[in-house]
Subunit: 158 residues, 2 copies
């Protein structure tokens, strides 16, 4: 269904409207998992390293579906499974994710190697095209790995 429900908005600014859909700590992570890691089931998301709570996950998937960023359909070969997938509106967020990734990698200590980031800035258009290709062809091979936490010198377990 493509029914437009009139939500009350803070303003007409596109940035504000974006944030009303995506402005929380989880939505864009779910989109990242769908886009670059090939996740598609509820279980897949639970395995993500940020350990989202199941109630929040269910809520976000519902909302993202409601605003047309994610689609959900039952797998025919297994009635338990639901396949989540980005819509075109969803895959169109690729530039946002790429920019966020590059920004943090440049300004914070992340698990992303510099070489990977350099490459991303140089080949931006190519990477975006590749992400879109995978989406279109339902190619689930991950585009990026899970970035591990950067090892701190002298860090200790807890």
């Amino acid at each position: 269904m493509a029914g437009k429900s009139k939500v009350k908005r803070r303003s007409g600014c596109p940035v504000s409207i974006s944030l009303e859909m995506l402005g929380d700590r989880w939505s864009l992570l779910i989109i990242r998992d769908l886009m670059v890691r090939g996740y598609r089931t509820f279980k897949d998301f639970q395995g993500s390293s940020e350990r989202i709570a199941t109630n929040i996950l269910a809520d976000r998937l519902r909302r993202l579906e409601a605003v047309g960023i994610v689609s959900a359909e039952k797998e025919k070969t297994d009635g338990r499974r639901i396949n989540y997938r980005l819509t075109e509106k969803g895959i169109d967020l690729a530039p946002v994710l790429l920019d966020l990734l590059v920004w943090a990698a440049r300004h914070e200590e992340t698990g992303a190697p510099c070489a990977v980031i350099d490459n991303m800035e140089k080949n931006r258009e190519q990477i975006l095209a590749e992400a879109r290709r995978r989406w279109r062809e339902r190619d689930l091979t991950p585009l990026l790995p899970e970035f591990k936490v950067k090892k701190e010198v002298g860090s200790r377990k807890r």
Copy 2:
């Protein structure tokens, strides 16, 4: 101060780290106001059309300063005023904001005219360069207007 406080992070993924700093409904709006509207004082932000509550605003300005996205300093000519400004880390978020803006304008009914968006997609690099120039030269003339809520047919006041 550039002291790095070790925060506990959900993961090493740059996207996740970005969202720990920016993943809420207000932070990026404040950054937008600093970047494209020439806002610099607490009062300015209160005038923004999304009507942020003053306690939230104070909290966000504090946090954004803490993570090095915003700087704050007293105005010499008026001891009451504090001038907020983006740091370089802050202005580096320009691509993210631009992408979010274009994305929403393409997929939602926003107050942004199509012509403006077309222009933004075509002249992306130029617009980013202009935003950075204004930041560098402390040019406060707005880059973009406040987008009004799109007039609905048959809408009524309340």
